[in-house]
């Protein structure tokens, strides 16, 4: 198995799908030039600028254009450079992409993938660092994938592109240069399937995207104290594989949910609500959330470090749950 970075895995997944299906087109700012992080580097050379389409900085219209292209037989991939700018495209995403299948009584399908980069990395401040996945998860008709490693990134992206629904594929910038074994061949990771990334029986830790790493580090530290933590990566948040989480909680009796998004109204709240409904009498202690402060993302590196949840806060929460 080749060792690949997260962004190389995304690029190879995208390229494989473009080779496989001539109706896959990519639209976005600077995509034909590789983009600011080099995710699409070299693709214009292989597929031409007709299929790697550079667009003006008009997120809302580009999103609508891709939706229209989907209604006319293409399978578009839109790149929104930072999730902070998806706000400009929310009208099209929420009112058209998500609803046209339903509102048309099934006449229309919108096989659209939105690749969007998110998260804290490199002190970029409040307009280039947000985690807005919970907004998107509130919208019926959208699927949302949020991979935590290179292998899942590739497999989920391929699933997203082949899906006949709009899928928002969220790429955490902090993971771009992380490396993992990426299986060769045409491996699909189904959307809506969580992964148990570390087994354990004392406490369940559900962590999303960039928080899976700190959760695993926390589990390692807890193991040295004799606490076996089970770490679960949901990989997708809509649909959410709640069964895998509930199964784990029934075993451990304790749950900690970790995400980089702010705590209030985060996807953690949804996970907690569903878990208490399905496994209330299995819970030994209150469910805890580890998430960012309810504040905009600060720009300065010291404040950013405070803002970002990490291993220490997860370990602390686990100890609190077990106490």
């Amino acid at each position: 198995m080749p060792h690949q970075t997260f962004l190389d895995a995304i690029r190879s997944g995208l390229a494989e799908e473009m080779r496989r299906d001539s109706s896959v087109y990519v639209f976005g700012e600077d995509v034909a030039l590789g983009g600011p992080f080099g995710v699409t580097k070299g693709l214009a050379e292989e597929f031409g600028v007709n299929r790697m389409v550079n667009t003006p900085i008009s997120e809302g219209t580009v999103m609508g254009l891709a939706i229209g292209a989907a209604t006319a037989g293409l399978r578009p991939v839109v790149e929104i450079m930072f999730i902070d700018f998806i706000t400009l495209a929310m009208d099209q995403l929420v009112n058209h992409a998500a609803k046209l299948h339903y509102m048309s009584g099934g006449q229309l399908r919108i096989p659209l993938t939105v690749r969007v980069q998110c998260g804290i990395s490199g002190a970029m401040g409040a307009h280039h660092s947000q985690s807005l996945e919970a907004w998107l998860a509130h919208v019926p008709g959208l699927k949302i994938a949020m991979p935590a490693n290179a292998a899942d990134a590739k497999g989920l992206l391929k699933a997203a592109i082949r899906d006949d629904n709009p899928v928002v594929f969220i790429e955490h910038r902090g993971l771009y240069w992380s490396k993992a074994e990426v299986p060769g061949g045409d491996r699909i990771v189904p959307i809506g399937q969580a992964a148990v990334v570390r087994p354990g029986d004392r406490v369940s830790i559900v962590a999303l995207a960039n928080m899976v790493g700190p959760a695993l580090a926390a589990a390692e530290e807890l193991a040295s104290e004799g606490i076996a933590a089970e770490v679960i990566d949901p990989r997708s948040i809509s649909p959410l594989d709640i069964e895998t989480i509930v199964t784990s909680v029934k075993k451990t009796g304790r749950l900690i949910v970790v995400h980089e998004a702010v705590e209030q109204g985060g996807i953690g709240a949804e996970i907690v609500a569903r878990v208490q409904q399905a496994a209330f009498f299995y819970l030994d202690t209150p469910v805890l959330r580890v998430a960012a402060y309810f504040a905009p993302v600060p720009a300065g590196p010291t404040l950013e470090k405070v803002f970002l949840p990490g291993k220490e806060r997860i370990v602390e929460a686990a100890r609190q749950a077990i106490r």
């Binding site: 003006p56 809302g60 999103m63 609508g64 891709a66 939706i67 209604t71 058209h96 046209l100 048309s104």
Partner: protein, 321 residues
Amino acid sequence: MRNNKTNSKELIDLLRRMWLIRAFEEKASALYAERQIVGLLHLGIGQEAVAVGACSSLREDDFVYGGHRSHGHAIAKGADINRLMAELAGRATGYCGGKGGSMHIVAKEAGFITATGVVGGTIPLALGAAFAAREKKRGQVAMVFFGDGAGQAGPFHESLNIASLWRLPVIFVCENNGYAEFTPLSAHTKIERLAQHAKTYGISASTVDGNDLFAVRDAMQKAVEKCRSGKGPVFVECLTHRMRGHYEGDPGKYRELSLLADWKKQDPIGRAARALKGKKAITEELEAIEREARALVEKAAKFALSSPWPEASEVDTQVTA
């Protein structure tokens, strides 16, 4: 009135289409008054020449996108009025199974891809269809209808820019009926003719009398031809007036009665009919056209109101494909 290019038979077909739209919307208005249709109902009575002049210039496989006032566009593109009326009435036999309603009509089989409840919302979609059409090399074009109210929205300008930049085969049809909801255009912008915006972006644009079927059709035929031969996009602004309120139930008190009376004299159906008379067709034929349209619409209403409501279990089906 320019009608030299349209022969009598064509003219009769166009008149039939206009009457079908008029009769459909008048019936919808009556059903709304009886609460047989509920929700928001935006009628385009008085604007039929734009819908018919534009859509009659298209091929069946061309893509049309509309807005919140789009029953006429769907019918002009060939949508089945039974299924359309059933959709307005929220019935299972409607185009969208009762999930779309008046503002979200989709009649894909007829090439009416979608309407929208968001002003100007489908303008970018038409760009995408035009892009796809060009890539697939089937010679199709995309057409999008929107009102003067959309001209002040960001996506309108972004779309004009991209359509021009990429030379997309898209026809922008601006139905300038003078009012954005309750407010006259002059209170929303200093720009008198929205076609000016298109010119700014380097798009071939014109303003026509939108109540003159022949003027609209002439402009649309030229626009479609340009787009098909790769010389798009084209913007056509059609000056018209809606004879009803913004929605059914809006008394329209923001308009002078004299203004309505003036526009009534400009009724697009009456003007087209007079042209037919000029071609020595008989009065009875005109009356028959209206009668037939009303009969078809009565049937559509019966079909709609005798159709079942959607099953409760449909409430969360088709959320995803």
